[in-house]
Each structure stands twice: as C-alpha cells, then as structure tokens.
Symmetry: C2
Subunit: 303 residues, 2 copies
C-alpha cells in the first residue's frame, strides 16, 4: 500500500491559508518527498508522518517555491535523529543550488547524496521500494515531472512448487529474492510465480505546459497530481507565457493518459476560489478533484 499526501496546494508564494505544493509518499514506513517550499515542514508536522524516515527528496525545479524550505527541513530531519544518508534528486545544478542553501545549515548529522538528472530517457531509480521515473516538463527553467511506481510481483503458486519438488524451506526466499539455492541446485522465481501484477503509481507534474510526452508518462496512473495554476480559460495566454496550465489543460492530459483520478494543485495566489471552476474540468475528465491541504489517499493493490 502506498500512502500519498498532497502537502499543499499553493504556487508562487506561501499564503496564510495555503501551503506550497509538495507531495509526500509513504511505503512500508519509508518516506519520499517531492518538492519542499517555504513551510513544507510545517504542513508535514501537521500531517504527522514524521521526518526521520525521509530517504529521498525529489525536486521538480529550482524556483524558490519548490525548494526554499530545504535548509529548514534538513535541520528538522537531523533533529529527528536521522544519521543515514539522504538522497536528493533533481535537475542538473542540484549540488550547486543545495550547497548554496546549506550555508545556513552547514552541519548535518547525515550525508547528502546527489542525483542530477541528465538523461532524457533514463532508467528508473529504485529506493526502498519506490521506483522513481521522470520526464522533462515544459517550464521556464529545466523542470521534471516524477512518477512513483510500486511494483507488484506475480502470484506464487504452491502447487507448481510442489510439482517441481522445490523444498518448502526456500519458498519464501524464492518469492522475495527471485532466486534460491538448495543442495547445489538453483531455483528461479519464474518456476513458481506468475507474471508481475499491476502495482500502484502516482504521477506529480508541476510546473509545466501540457506537453504531449506527459501523456505516455502518466499513462494509467492511479493518481495524477497536476498543476492547474489558472482556472479561467481567459488566462490561457498568461499560462502560455508563464509556462503553466489551465484546469482544462490538466484535465485533458488526465483523460488522454487514462489515469484513475486527477488532483489539481499549484493554484495561483490570485485564484482564491478554485472550487468555482471544478465543474468545467470535470466536464473534460470526470474524476477530477481539487487538491486540498494534506489531502491523502492510500493506493492499494487490486486483484
């Protein structure tokens, strides 16, 4: 089961009633954070999932509203007792930017490992069960959309194992590690397990224009968290200039990618009543919902 929380719904600057957009994912007690603006640690405190288990922070891009909370959260993670290395993933220049911010957090009880995303067609990064993929978004500066998949192995068939006289003592190892040895003989998972089953997935995309490559990238996701900086159709020109999306554009992406549900977020400070524009988006993609502060979902495996 993958728990996903949208930590805030704001864009551009933190507001009294709106934390900045960021996402926290939890799997087997481990945490993955995407983006970390000013105040992200405060909404995380309200959420209550803790700080120590954050193993990785992914950054979409280096605009301040997506990263300015980093020095503070690193100190808070340290105060929570973390000593294991923490992985930071982001666009090229990540270490330059973070080392600049770290001038006000020079001493941490854990080390930082930088992963700068240079390849356009990358292999996913696997960290503690989170399978992290990414693709280029289309923003004013280099920006990435992220997809987190939790894979699910095929079903185990005890009957097959018995038929092939595979000793019970290695059944568990075979399922977990895909390979086991007994009395000199090697057994592999494909002998006893079915095809991999559908896992769960969440896609996070902000800030971006609705470019075509986002469609295969978000395909069939259980949850698509997508920016909708502007709601009104009249703001299309502004959206194009500032490289953001309208609600309708995000909804169209969601429909084309055939996701299970869309959460809109990253609302402009000038968009004080996003609920007024939800119906239009639902007209394009029925399973559209508005993001809310700390809106949370548990994505479970389905048979």
């Amino acid at each position: 089961m993958l728990d996903v929380c949208l930590l805030g719904t704001g864009g551009m600057m933190p507001m009294p009633n709106r934390f900045l957009t960021a996402m926290l994912a939890r799997l087997n007690g481990r945490l993955l954070l995407v983006d970390c603006g000013e105040g992200t640690q405060v909404t995380m405190k309200l959420l209550g999932w803790g700080f120590k288990a954050i193993d990785v922070i992914c950054f979409t891009h280096f605009h301040a509203d997506h990263i300015s909370g980093l020095p503070g959260i690193l100190l808070t993670i340290g105060n929570a007792g973390r000593t294991e290395p923490l992985t930071l993933i982001g666009p090229p220049g990540l270490s330059y930017v973070v080392e600049g911010l770290k001038r006000i957090a020079p001493e941490l009880p854990f080390s930082l490992q930088y992963v700068e995303l240079k390849e356009e067609t990358p292999n996913p990064i696997e960290i503690n069960g989170f399978r992290i993929s990414y693709t280029l978004a289309d923003h004013l500066i280099r920006c990435y959309a992220y997809r987190i998949d939790v894979l699910r192995k095929g079903k185990f068939y005890p009957q097959k194992a018995e038929e092939q006289n595979i000793p019970k003592a290695i059944w568990s190892k075979l399922q977990k590690e895909g390979r086991a040895q007994w009395e000199g003989k090697v057994y592999t998972a494909d002998m006893v397990m079915g095809q991999p089953r559908k896992g769960v997935s969440v896609v996070y995309c902000t800030d971006s224009r609705p470019v075509d490559r986002l469609i295969p990238f978000a395909r069939e996701a259980d949850l698509f968290i997508c920016e909708g900086m502007y709601a009104e159709e009249e703001k299309k020109q502004k959206a194009i200039e500032n490289k953001h999306m309208l609600f309708s554009e995000a909804a169209r992406l969601a429909k084309q990618a055939n996701v299970a549900r869309l959460w809109l977020t990253h609302f402009s400070p000038s968009l004080s009543e996003p609920e007024l524009f939800l119906e239009t988006a639902k007209g394009i993609f029925e399973n559209t919902e508005l993001g809310e502060e700390r809106k949370t979902i548990s994505l479970s495996f389905t048979e």
Copy 2:
C-alpha cells in the same frame, strides 16, 4: 511614531501555531525587518503592512530559523514592485551566505547592498529615520543585538526666531535641515531650537546569553524584545550550553536596563504553554509581557 510588530514567537523551527521570531518596524511608511525565518513572509502577509517599503533587513545571525525565509521574501518584495536598492545588515559573512541563498532567487528587480558588521564599537547606521545600533550578543555563532532609535529634535521657539529677525520664509527649512541661508546670512537651528528631546526606541535581542553589555545597550528602551527560549529554572544548564536565556534572565536584564516594557519571545518548541511562567518573570520585572503572533505597539513621542 514608530510602529513595532513582533511577527512570531517561535525559535529553532517553524511550528503550526507559531511563526519564527522576527520584528518589523514601520516609520513614516518605511519598513525595517529584523530576521527572516521560514514563514516570516506569511505572518507579514497576515499583518498587512506590505512588502515593497522594506528598505532594510537586519540579521542577528545565520542560524536557519533567522534567515531561511530570505530568498522567498526577496522574490515577494520584487513581485510587490520594488526597484530601489535594499540594504542587508548582518554579521561578517553576510554576502557569502546571502549569495548562497540567492541561487534560488537569482533575478531580482532591485539590487542588494550588504553591510557586514565588523566593528565592535560602531557608529549607528542611519536609514530613512531608523537609527540602527548593534552590539555583540553571546551565542554559539557570531550574533548581534539591534537597537532602533528614532531621534527627536528640540522644540522650535518662534519667539526666539522673531527676536533674532529670522525671516519666516526659512523657519521650516531651518527646523528640517538644521541650517538655512537668507540674503547672504547663515542661520543655524541652535538659534531657534531647544535641546533634542527624547525619541523612541526598541531593542531586539535573540539569540544570546544575558551578558552585561546588553544592559547599557538596552538602557531606557521603550520596548525590549528579548528571547526567553526556556521558561523553567531547571533548564538553566541547557540555556548555558545552547547559549540562550531563561525567562528570569531576560527579566533581570530588562530591570537592570530600566526599559519601559519587555516582550518575551523565541520560545522553544517544547515550551507549549509559556503563559504558565509569566508570573515568575513579572516578579523580577513587572512590565514583562509574553510575545504573541503579530503583537503590535505604536511608540509615540512623549512631552
């Protein structure tokens, strides 16, 4: 009249119910900010004094809870339309630290002017009527306490001016500029004005042990905003180790400096009910008050 607002009362990390400690002063519509932690721009938004008129930001020291909000607020000041230079004042290393933070706010529509405080017995800095003095605090890293004075000129005596046949046309200039010329003759303010009168003053001290030099520095201030990281006397050893103050130590400073009133602030996240400890502090210095989020006072000239 000098308006002073304590923007938050927290120390160490921003909390859901407590913004980090910072002070905003307003004089003739111009603003001076002392410290700027994560979320300071949010509490300022709630206060409503605006952002564009911030002419100077003073930093006590470079621990993240006092400066991590800088990149965000600089962007917000820019979005508010400022194009005039902004002065930053702080300990040595200021430009190094700020240039690091500015990696996520590389393009601002105004320039920054750095004033690094190197002298121990400095001349005050005058900016738009704010007379800024400072002294070394005693913290884990180099840290300054600030004093903001608004000076007040002596009274103008029209009778004296008339007696000396000073033409009315230059009365105003004489009072404002201290010197005026008329038909080749020079007149000076001392001919028509009394001694400078008592101005108003606020002293801001956090983070520090209660060292003696703070007493003359805070002498007779109208408002002394002072840290009280810990309330319980049993935490004295912790206060000494972490270079902070107890409520009682701040109250003793206030009494010795004979200030008009003391506001306690910079409460530890573990201090959830500071009000339980107010009476002890009042026992030492009667005019002790607890800081509150956006607690505001207007300091007026008195006759």
